[in-house]
Amino acid sequence: MGLTLTHVSFTYQGTASKAIDDVSLDLQPGRFYGVVGATGAGKSTLCHIFSGLIPHFLKGSLDGEVALDGQPTSAIPIDEIATRVGYVFQNPFDQLSHITYRVDDEVAFGLQNFGLPRDEIVARVTHALEVLRLADLRDRYPFHLSGGQLQRLAVASVLAMSPDIVVMDEPTSQLDPQGTREVFQAVADLRASGVTVVLVEHKVDLLAAHVDELIALGDGRVVCQGSPRAVFASPVFGDLGVNRPQMAELALQLGFAGEAEALPLSPTELMKHYGFEALHAD
């Protein structure tokens, strides 16, 4: 069950090189996956494969097998995939419909398109707005919201479809620190409701603190995969052009040589590792 990729490669129409090259992954239900990699490493392509936009919307040659709950995604209509895999785009301005005038109508947009019963739409919208802490803003015009609120609205409109998996492609890249915190809180809320989350993100400190498993991409391949500590401690990680969390970087610079699972990721852990007791509880 879940989403499985077996030796998957993809080349966009009109390009010569593979955007994704022989990737095999098994996304387990309920886990939180982080995806890191330099620009052009294939992160967005991977998201498009997860969400069925490849091969249903974006054209190119797809090899290998992508299976959603055991069924190849190429054989499931995109509408059907959309109810099971939610997609949060990088820029909420692109994701939101631009045809609704209220926050709650925007959340209801997808549900209306799928023809759900009216009462169920109302219940799901209310629930999604509560989870994303947007209930007080439900009658506002969407594009009068702040950046963080707008992205939370995008997440709410995905959550309302009650997908099993939510894929998020750099949802905080356009946001200030406050907006970023709001979105990470939203992701934590999603997780609490049992959803599998795949988050592409370059803010590695935040990723390190939240994800169960990290997938590091380089040139379209999975370079390393595992717990955040294992991935950041991996010697090949350094060649990806992706930053490590500051404290992990510091520890490695200082000659950290212990077990990967002991790699410090926060200041407290770093101090503990070098034998300083925390001066204050945190």
Partner: protein, 262 residues
């Protein structure tokens, strides 16, 4: 539940019976009124139609908004029609007014008057709908009447994106001006000023088409399933009678015209 928020149109919220009416009834009103104005030819009938539109605008409480939107235009139009038709209309006619070498002809002035009344009626009837109906309600009504959701998308997305683009243009102009763009120089200079403004306006939005299309796809917009509506558009108890009355008025006007009385 009602819609609020920036509508992007001339819509004025209100509590009149016109506001409360179902959008399709209002559309029928506009279509009948505009059709009548095209059917009748005699001045008193055109005047009566124009007056009826004024009454509806007044009862709807959007009389001021109507003038704000159209007064300048209607005055200009009246003036130019009087000049063009009054002075230059061909054919023999009595002279109404002699100003130096120019003679204002009665036939031309009468023609201009009927033209102005007809345009006023059409603009007014159309604005009754626009001023009292939120665009989202209008689109929901036409979709529920069988129009494709794509038509609704085109209309509403355009209404939302256009002011956004104008706002972006304003910000780009401000940014360029702080870097020394002149907006008051010679024609050539102003044309040159155009160049740095145009690029930034286009690329971002053209390049966002793909993401927007993917998002709509992922949100089921292009699905063949039957759509449901959370909001319901209410029908007032008097609307069936009003629709029949509108139909009767139109038939009556056509009959009068055929008999040569209108």
């Amino acid at each position: 539940m009602t819609v609020s928020g920036t509508s992007g149109t001339l819509f004025q919220a209100g509590a009149s019976f016109v506001h409360a009416a179902h959008p399709t009834t209002k559309l029928l009103y506009a279509v009948v009124t505009i059709a009548c104005s095209l059917v009748v030819t005699r001045l008193p009938f055109l005047a009566a139609l124009a007056l009826s539109v004024c009454v509806v605008l007044y009862l709807a409480g959007v009389w001021r908004a109507f003038l704000r939107a159209t007064a300048r235009y209607l005055v200009l139009l009246t003036f130019f029609l009087l000049v063009i038709q009054g002075l230059f209309r061909e054919g023999p006619s009595a002279v109404l007014l002699q100003i130096g070498p120019a003679s204002l002809k009665t036939a031309g002035v009468l023609f201009a008057a009927s033209m102005v009344l007809r345009i006023f009626t059409m603009v007014g009837a159309f604005l009754v709908v626009v001023l009292t109906t939120h665009p989202a309600d209008l689109v929901q009504a036409i979709e529920q009447a069988g129009a494709s959701p794509r038509v609704g998308y085109l209309l509403l997305a355009t209404l939302q994106l256009s002011p956004e683009m104008v706002e972006r243009a304003r910000r780009i102009i401000d940014a360029q001006r702080s870097r020394g763009l002149r907006t008051d120089g010679s024609l050539v200079m102003r044309f040159r000023g155009l160049v740095p403004l145009v690029g930034p306006l286009f690329y971002g939005s053209l390049m966002s088409v793909e993401a927007k299309a993917m998002a709509l796809t992922a949100r089921g917009f292009f699905t063949q399933r039957r759509k449901t509506w959370v909001r319901t558009l209410a029908h007032q108890p008097w609307e069936p009678a009003a629709r029949i009355a509108l139909g009767a008025v139109f038939v009556g006007v056509v009959v009068l015209r055929v008999l040569g009385w209108a």
